[in-house]
């Protein structure tokens, strides 16, 4: 555990990507199995111990530290595991040597809700502050130390000089501590066989169309095909051996949340598409999809009621075909895959699958006009895909671009601020803002309409933090109420009617577009202006 704790600590303080890769690669080469496998799983968010939750740690601390002192500490530190590691009282008696990673994992796996508190405490007693931090991060399954799963996989590839695409491919059929994966990469054993399991293949992603790419697109346009960017969630469907999985963008298995979709693919294939809910809201030539708001009713549910299935029936609008009946189409060009997809879709249940159309546009200017319509039709924007692009993992420059519709803008007044977490810890970086419920000069009040915590630069954050501290009128625990003098220009993708909010509206994807320190608060927008933008 000390070696792993040291790795975690070094990763926290190492800025350069290469430095991080080096640290992880060294660790993976020098640490024996199964410790390195468990560590790798922790870094890639692959560990889950159902008996140990954030609340387990909180309760553990509450037994030893005054609840208010704990809450104030947590608020300042901005991270539960770190707070606990610093607050943990040193044991009175010698607790024994620190556990290995494998020993800690075995202990964590064996815990039940009833025993977790005492057993985690016993482990914590055997570690120093850095070890406690690493253990708690590992136990709660959220490292959040600036290491993406992708980075860890690149480091794995680097450590053993194997191809990172191979690592990605074999990864999803394997389970921690990845004995087969290490045997293959480190000792030259045969590669894990993945043909019989419904594997997730990492998505091909797009760059935003802006700056130099936008300028170059004018001339390059004939080499690209345009498609709608539907406002749902990107999914991958995999059918192998009579089994179907629906994967989200991050590779999470969401088959159980959308059983009607998972149940209607019976041909061995891997498909890429947008999961949507039937409705009349999203336009385009196909029509037939509801707003994202409707889809949200279905997201994150482990059990789906019949009523849900009837009210919000899901379907997938297909973008791409990766594998068809054991034939890997990914090396083919987009154009060839598109032809295969068009031939494939008629074999599918039309209630659950349709084809995302290609937009006919002769030039970028023409496409720009079509994109303008996206708002009225509640579509997120358009995609541009290079006609000769193979299907490759991640964001490869120049192949795919996303061109989202321009955001909506509204001027709001800062009302409350809260400290951020992670790298924003201690900064007042989460802002709640409001619009006037009528004429402010006639005594109308501000009603909160949204909350945003990005859109500003680091320097602006420092300025905002200072503004909040100097303009606080009330404190409610971690929340500060400000004097309602600062105007934000807030950008957002859409706004929906909401019964849960006093203002009656809920914004989608709000962010601070500009700080309008020059604008008097009473000139900020009124709620009616925001309500007028609802397209539900």
């Amino acid at each position: 555990m000390e070696r792993f704790a040291h790795l975690v600590d070094s990763l926290v303080y190492t800025r350069s990507r290469n430095g991080k890769l080096q640290l992880i690669a060294d660790y993976l080469r020098e640490t024996p199995d199964p410790d390195r496998g468990w560590a790798l799983a922790a870094l890639t968010d692959g560990l889950d111990f159902p008996a140990v939750k954030g609340s387990t740690i909180r309760n553990l601390l509450m037994d030893r530290v005054d609840p208010l002192l704990y809450a104030l500490s947590r608020d300042f530190v901005g991270d539960t595991a770190e707070t606990a590691s610093l607050l943990w009282p040193e044991p009175l008696a010698d607790p024994g040597p620190p556990p290995s990673v494998a020993e800690a994992v075995t202990a964590l796996q064996g815990m039940t809700r009833a025993t977790a508190q005492a057993e985690v405490a016993a482990l914590l007693d055997r570690l120093d502050a850095n070890g406690r931090y690493a253990l708690l991060k590992l136990a709660t399954g959220a490292m959040r130390i600036g290491i993406s799963a992708r980075l860890a996989k690149v480091a794995f590839a680097q450590a053993f000089e194997v191809s990172v695409d191979d690592v990605e491919e074999y990864w999803h059929g394997q389970f921690p501590p990845y004995a087969e994966l290490f045997a293959w990469a480190a000792e030259g054993a045969p590669a894990p066989d993945a043909s019989h399991v419904p594997l997730f293949r990492p998505f091909m992603l797009a760059h935003p169309l802006e700056g130099p790419a936008m300028a170059a697109m004018e001339a390059e346009f004939p080499n690209y095909a345009a498609e709608w960017k539907w406002d749902g969630i990107r999914v991958q469907l995999v059918h192998v051996n009579g089994e179907t999985r629906v994967y989200s963008r991050s590779g999470d298995d969401i088959s159980r949340t959308f059983p009607e979709v998972a149940g209607s693919l019976a041909i061995p294939a891997v498909l890429d598409g947008e999961l949507l809910v039937r409705g009349s809201h999203q336009g385009g030539e196909e029509g037939g999809a509801a707003s994202f708001n409707a889809l949200q009713q279905r997201l994150g549910r482990k059990v789906v009621s019949k009523k849900m299935l009837a009210e919000y029936p899901a379907f997938v609008r297909l973008y791409d075909l990766l594998i068809r009946e054991d034939e890997d189409l990914r090396p083919l060009s987009w154009e060839q895959r598109r032809a295969e997809l068009e031939a494939f879709v008629p074999r599918l249940d039309p209630a659950r699958f349709d084809l995302s159309s290609v937009i006919a546009a002769g030039s970028l200017d023409e496409l720009a006009v079509i994109r303008e319509r996206a708002r009225d039709e509640a579509i997120e924007g358009v995609m541009l895909k290079r006609r000769d692009s193979p299907y490759v993992t991640g964001r490869k420059t120049g192949l795919w671009f996303k061109w989202k519709r321009d955001p909506l803008l509204v001027d709001c007044v800062l009302m409350y601020a809260q400290r951020g977490s992670g790298k924003r810890s201690s900064f007042y970086s989460d802002y709640t803002f409001g619009c006037w419920d009528g004429d402010p000069d006639a005594g109308a009040e501000l009603l909160p309409v949204g909350k945003a915590y990005f859109g500003f630069t680091d320097d602006e954050l420092k300025w905002l933090d200072r503004h909040v501290r100097n303009h606080t009128v009330h404190r409610f625990g971690p929340v500060r109420e400000t004097d309602k003098s600062l105007v934000f220009e807030v950008a957002f993708d859409s706004v929906h009617a909401s019964k849960r909010h006093k203002s009656g509206v809920a914004m989608r994807f709000p962010r601070i577009n500009r700080i309008r320190a020059d604008k008097p608060a009473h000139e900020a927008d009124r709620l009616n202006a925001l309500r007028a933008l609802i397209r539900d």
Binding site: V12, Y13, D66, L69, L72, V77, G78, D79, K423, S425
Partner: protein, 334 residues
Amino acid sequence: MSAPFAWIRPEPHGIHVVPADTWIDPARPVDSALVTHGHADHARGGHGRTIATPATLAIMKLRYLTDAGSTPVEYGETIRLPGGVDATFVPAGHVLGSAQILLEHAGERVVVTGDYKRRPDPTCPPFECTPCDIFITEATFGLPVFRHPPIEEEIAKLLKARADNPERCVLVGAYALGKAQRVIAELRGAGYREPIYLHGALERMCRLYEELGVDLGELRLVAGMPKGALAGGIVLCPPSALNDRWSRRLPDPITAMASGWMRVRQRARQKMVELPLVISDHADWDELTRTIEEVDPGCTWITHGREDALLRWCQLHQRKARALALVGYEDEDD
């Protein structure tokens, strides 16, 4: 003045000693000021009369280029202020010249700690516990997560990073007054005899420390040194220069920062620090609470810092306490 302690009033811009019409560490210019120590947020310029220890006055003169109105008072010496108030300066152990101020009036005793620490510091005399009725304490590190490790461990980390990277240099961000000189003195105490290199902004204060009798060994300015000469060296700079263009002249520096805030990982990350050194000139949580127990005042007033938590601790330990809301102290600096 009839009510007890009505003669001492916390105002937003400082603590007002009413009968003497004198302010302690006021945040804006006043006719008469008592100053605990030389940090800029406590020792502002422009007062009609400034009463402080000789070292603090020398530091203020260095910064404000004038010593008009200076009234020096040695540690342990008492000065009689108008309105029948006696003020005594007691070592606070924070930086050179730092003092707690004991105020006595009508048989009542109030101690204002200013900033203080309890750990030994080779650059200034140690904190002395002074019995009093009201103890006005700082609370910069007033959260139980703050437990500063022994400074020897942190200095050893610094020396190890240097030894492990002979082709690089270690660049330590340290506040110009107090922290920089303490880090240098502790390095000397650990047997480090090489020249220590300074950013120009640290030079005058180090020289002043030397004039006031603190031995810092051989110091050299970075300016004018060839890049290669600094490989394997230790360089000190103000925190603001850590990620500044200035540091590009150094050979692949390991960015270190000497501050109590380095205890919290995300703070170190925000400052883009690779080598956090938990070295503080303030009392940590255990020191703050132990000091309240040792001083054992009738009431504790808590200022600048994390007042809420220390107030809570006082309540849990059946001690009378209140939090003051003073403005203008840079609670993030250490």
